[in-house]
């Protein structure tokens, strides 16, 4: 008989996750009926809330605010222990004392995107009209919607111009959307491992993930919350497929090769004989502990719809015409999800707009995930870009020259 072992059930209870959805342990900004969020689909979302974290202090002339935009499955817990998983912040390599984004120098803001599941209103939130979880009744959101909501939060915090907007992957898309939608409010922009539009291949991978979620019988057409269950098997498969796209052939080979997991010989079954299988199953099962399946559908959809040029008559340079924002674009050699060619197209458009842009491609075999990992060259470039922008902006206050390497 063939041994079958599927992805294990989550160890963290659904209660921990669902509590954070409506009652996040971070700060929350509530927007009532007087301040609806106008969505691209034509619906006014109201009421809604944005969960966010801040690090450091806003200076007297409100000129040192930095907005960090998180990637697809990230959240506002950029540099603190995560309330659900107990793991350290997802970007504490970039944010923290002595890091390129040092809270002693900058007022750092990171908010959960609209449509997310860590405290900002999304499909896992309670719909106040029905008293039940939104599920698929939640309107489809876009990257511009996320940025519009962030701009409302920044207004609420009393900040006019952001010193920097920083993000990688889907976070990078938000950075670019910020500069296209609010050029005067963004002094400098650090866009990492991203693109001005989602490619056909990336849409295809997202569709694969969504179909995996929807094929799980526990999905119940998105109404699983009413049944008190979660389609964790489908979501885990979606995460496993996506995780492969975040790595590279070379990195997988270096990390795992064809090595076996706790055994010498194949078991002649569909058990996780190979280390790479075991690793992927772990990635899948740990992801479903902290993420909502419907939220995954909505956020992948938002990325698919993203196309800045499409919003500007098909001419990318028009999106950035006359822009004064200082740009730094970073790509990684082994990133095949958002390859360097995508960044180069962005840089060409910025050049055509006479924007001030730096562009560096960093050599690494770690794939798309490199932006979240310890890559010293990336930190050197981020630090220098922010410092030179700070100098031009006349940012005073404590200067940290601590080198963390």
């Amino acid at each position: 008989m063939v041994g079958v072992k599927s992805v294990p059930s989550p160890a963290i209870s659904a209660d921990d996750r669902s509590h954070e959805v409506d009652h996040p342990s971070s700060e929350v900004a509530q927007f009532g009926a007087d301040q609806p969020l106008r969505l691209d689909c034509g619906i006014d979302l109201t009421p809604f809330q944005i969960a966010y974290k801040t690090y450091g202090e806003l200076n007297a002339d409100r000129s040192n605010a930095v907005l960090i935009c998180h990637a697809l499955t990230g959240d506002q817990h950029v540099a603190n222990v995560h309330p659900v998983t107990g793991k350290s912040g997802w970007w504490d390599t970039l944010v923290g004392p002595g890091r390129p984004l040092d809270p002693s120098r900058y007022f750092i803001i990171c908010s959960n995107v609209i449509g997310g599941c860590m405290g900002s209103t999304g499909p896992a939130s309670i719909n106040p009209a029905t008293g039940k979880v939104w599920g698929l009744d939640f309107p489809v959101i876009t990257i511009p919607d996320m940025v519009r909501a962030q701009a409302m939060l920044i207004d609420r915090l009393g900040i006019d111009t952001l010193f920097a907007v920083v993000g990688g992957s889907m976070g990078g898309m938000q950075v670019l959307q910020w500069t296209a939608a609010y050029p005067k409010r963004v002094y400098s922009a650090l866009a990492i491992a991203c693109s001005t539009r989602h490619s056909a291949q990336n849409i295809a991978f997202h569709e694969l993930g969504r179909q995996a979620v929807m094929a799980d019988p526990d999905w119940h057409n998105g109404a699983y919350a009413d049944q008190g269950i979660h389609p964790h098997r489908g979501l885990a498969v979606a995460r496993m497929a996506a995780h492969i796209t975040y790595l590279s052939d070379a990195a997988l080979h270096r990390k795992f090769g064809r090595r076996m997991q706790d055994r010498e010989l194949p078991t002649f079954s569909f058990d996780a004989d190979f280390q790479v299988e075991s690793y992927l199953r772990y990635q899948g099962s740990s992801f479903v502990e902290r993420f909502d399946a419907n939220s995954y559908l909505y956020l992948t959809r938002a990325m698919d719809y993203f196309d800045i040029a499409g919003d500007h008559g098909g001419v990318l340079a028009k999106a950035f015409a006359g822009i004064e924002t200082r740009f730094c674009v970073v790509s990684f050699t082994s990133d095949w999800l958002f390859p360097t060619s995508e960044s180069r197209a962005l840089v060409h458009a910025l050049n055509a707009s006479s924007a001030r842009v730096s562009f560096a491609e960093i050599e690494t075999d770690r794939g798309h995930d490199a932006f979240l990992l310890d890559v010293p060259e990336f930190f050197d470039i981020s630090r220098a870009f922010l410092q030179s922008a700070g100098k031009a902006r006349g940012l005073t206050g404590k200067t940290t020259n601590n080198q963390d390497h």
């Binding site: 840089v347 050049n351 842009v357 730096s358 491609e361 470039i381 100098k391």
Partner: protein, 220 residues
């Protein structure tokens, strides 16, 4: 037009040079403060840093990834790119000056590159090693081999410099494509300008490199 008609300017004294290369100081002196400059083939960004100290808004293109990353790590606005293929992406009149320093001879289409420089920039500053320099001539004439110098040490089979020219050749190209020479300088082996007003053949023989400030001529 010949070089004789162009007035060489006062050279910069060596003691002024400080940490900067003499040829960079000469180029920087040709740029009006407050202008917007694109440095094509900016290397490690030394010239851009010098220009920034003079209040000039500088941008750069560099072919090598290592060079670009060193520039960006210095806070300079530099992108990875190729003079032969990427200049077409820049709009007309985007810059006051476009600088091509010691790079023309390494491009595949020097004439097209030169035309692009003066499309993107209202002025161009071009410097290049002079293959008419006496030591080059001597190596070929007496040694019978392709010249190699301190500044150009690569052998013929691994050099990136595929389109060498002399000062005389360059002047003829400028005439052919109706480019106006506003200033011309010949530098000696140490990057110091040849001080005196000399006939062009002397420059072509004793100048180790030429530096030209160009603008769009009539008839273009």
């Amino acid at each position: 037009m010949s070089v004789q008609e162009v007035l060489p300017l006062n050279g910069l004294a060596a003691e002024q040079s400080g940490p900067f290369r003499a040829d960079h100081l000469l180029v920087a002196e040709m740029v009006k403060p407050g202008s917007k400059v694109l440095d094509v083939g900016c290397g490690d960004g030394d010239l851009l840093q010098l220009l920034e100290t003079r209040g000039i808004d500088g941008r750069g293109i560099e072919l090598s990834r290592e060079g670009v990353n060193r520039c960006v790590a210095k806070g300079l606005a530099v992108v990875q790119g190729d003079a032969d293929t990427d200049l077409v992406n820049y709009p007309d009149d985007a810059f006051d000056y476009v600088i091509l320093s010691q790079t023309l001879q390494a491009t595949r289409q020097p004439k097209v590159v030169l035309e692009n420089l003066l499309r993107i920039g209202r002025r161009a500053i071009v410097s290049f090693p002079n293959f008419g320099f006496w030591r080059m001539r001597l190596q070929l004439l007496v040694g019978g081999h392709m010249p190699r110098t301190e500044n150009l040490p690569a052998s013929w089979y691994d050099t990136a410099n595929i389109h060498f020219c002399t000062i005389k050749d360059f002047v003829e190209l400028c005439d052919e494509i109706h480019v106006k020479m506003e200033r011309a300088e010949a530098l000696d082996l140490y990057g110091r300008p040849l001080r005196l007003r000399l006939p062009w053949w002397v420059w072509n023989l004793f100048g180790e490199q030429g530096v030209f400030l160009l603008s769009r001529g009539q008839g273009k």
